[in-house]
Symmetry: C2
Subunit: 413 residues, 2 copies
Amino acid sequence: MKERPDLERWLPLPNAVRLGDPTALPAGFRAGGVSAGSKPSGALDLGVIHCTEPAMTSAARFTPSATAAAPVVITRDRCDTSRLRAVLVNSGNANASTGKMGFEEAARMQGAGSILLGIPIEHLGLCSTGKIGEPLDGRVFVQTLPRLGDDLSSDATTFNQAICTTDLFLKRAAVDLELAGGTVRITAQAKGAGMIHPGFATMLAFVQTDAELSASRCGKLLDNALADTFNRVSVDGQLSTNDTVVLQASGASGVAPADDAEDKLVQAALDHVMLDLALQLIADGEGATRLAKVRVKGGDPLGHAADKVADHIATSPLVQTALLGADPNWGRIIQAAGHALAGRGPVDFDVSFGGVQVCRANQATRYDRDAANAAAAEQLVEIEVSFLGDGEATRYFCDLTVDYVKFNSEYTT
Amino acid sequence: MKERPDLERWLPLPNAVRLGDPTALPAGFRAGGVSAGSKPSGALDLGVIHCTEPAMTSAARFTPSATAAAPVVITRDRCDTSRLRAVLVNSGNANASTGKMGFEEAARMQGAGSILLGIPIEHLGLCSTGKIGEPLDGRVFVQTLPRLGDDLSSDATTFNQAICTTDLFLKRAAVDLELAGGTVRITAQAKGAGMIHPGFATMLAFVQTDAELSASRCGKLLDNALADTFNRVSVDGQLSTNDTVVLQASGASGVAPADDAEDKLVQAALDHVMLDLALQLIADGEGATRLAKVRVKGGDPLGHAADKVADHIATSPLVQTALLGADPNWGRIIQAAGHALAGRGPVDFDVSFGGVQVCRANQATRYDRDAANAAAAEQLVEIEVSFLGDGEATRYFCDLTVDYVKFNSEYTT
């Protein structure tokens, strides 16, 4: 998909929310992006998102990978993630698997950025995305920083461009939320497109709001939103070395949620923005042509059986290739579900495509083949799987295509 | 690969073993295969392997899938797996996800086969392989049984053909083993080619020997061999609904292992035959063009960290597409290894391709690029990964190709 597909069917608008302009940052933020020349294409490769309010708050979450990249380790372990005033991002080189020199180069960029923006070192986070295992030359970024400083504005566009690698379209979202005290705005930017799999926080994503929020509230909002959004999508089941998501709240609107009800409105608005980003990520999954949403009901709600079934379905190359073929192939769904609950004795599953039940208790029903085929041929395919029990899980995924294989076999380190 | 590639490098011949003729069954066995006409191609689709020695012994292992097929349930739960005199196999239809009718059709075939061969019902196992979720018409097989009965001989060829589905070549192996009491023979047949992943026992495989073995010894031999062979290969990480492996010992040679040392010789010979079959399975993985063996050393031997790392590497589509591209892409190895040990804090990995170390402690070494590229371009690619600790694990896998995606997106239920 070369353009963001129409995702509205899976993005119902919450109460008190209207869609906003994703290029217009909330009050208290400025951003920019420039080319330091590290990409052969000359595309933008260095960006910063900066909150100008010293009393701001933030939260950040990172990949749990045991081989996390240098910028992840520095931001996670050596910054104050409750007050990340700014995040400096380079794209094209992940600064992962680059050893001690990778840490030095990252530290160099952090030091330079801190002076440029006039903020303490520990308030400047770092993100890198791109090739793994290639030495990063921080000098080209450091010497470009003054030019980046000149580019800063309340328009998110160049920052959004500067964080991209193989992305075919900009991933961004924005909403305005009406609270009793006034309007607050949430904007967000992310980059794709391979190595996407749930794991606490996934990929690079940046979320800004001008609402007044405590740092601990930021953390709770982010954890809740991740659980229902980024942690429910998979492109290829591969956890990245660099995944980072940062939520920054400037407080510049002067509006804070007034009560529990308004806390929930803020959560719903943030969930909406992040689900929008997450769906854009899989829509731009390498080679993707079709998306699927699988809703699983069954199992003990505390036992995660529904999650296991949903994960196995979403990451099965057999299901993913059937999605490419517009095939309502419930046999492969049953196979993946049986794999997910291996060793648990026989389990009976029902399967529907777009509301057309094609399988009851692991067995074909007499179904309307034209309707099922039509449901499997939509751009957004809806699959429902159920078995005994009250657990629930939802996952979103894309198809596995010839282009994914071509891209990843021809793209070399 | 349309022909069995040269796998000898990964199949060192054990002591006292020489390669045998895979079409010549050991003493005490006969087999056959015919076409019942269930395949549009008219290819053979019904086969039987029959031990003519009433005092024979056997062992069988099955998929742990929670949606196991009817023939798996019937053979596993209602047969005497320590004395499976014969196994009746149909190919083209897996009789999986076929409900009560699937059990009836399987039972019908079992009843008919029992009369044909003159053996008790509980001594006749069943296997099916092919499409999932399509009703099986047992009548066509039952009415073809008399013709199958006429085809039985000591030549394994038509049986071997009759168990195939999308296989491009026959999977078979044979060895002769010199023991103090005389020579014993082991032959084996298997079918591929997708949905292959470790899980106790995988795919359909049949192993025959004329050695004298107790049923409990058969079970131990089979468990040990599976752990080191079938449970170490993966094509697409997908556990099947029908996986079954059966070891039958006729005792017709009159030769039993004389002592512990000879027990070990038998185990090594069986391991060799089953590793040969397992490698043939992945060599005929759907669309496969290149094979890899990844040896992982590290972690607590009791903690399975090495197994996790090896599993993640072998099932990563990023590693599998790099294998297709003949790319010694150690960055994707580090990413998969980091994913495998997610949440464990930083771990340093070394990576070699064909003995050429390309990465030390997650960082590029100065390596001979031509040598590494040559190692990654071989038909059999050897990858070594190590980290702190004494655990060990080995996995074999094939590349992920355009043909895999095409085949599985165009092949519909």
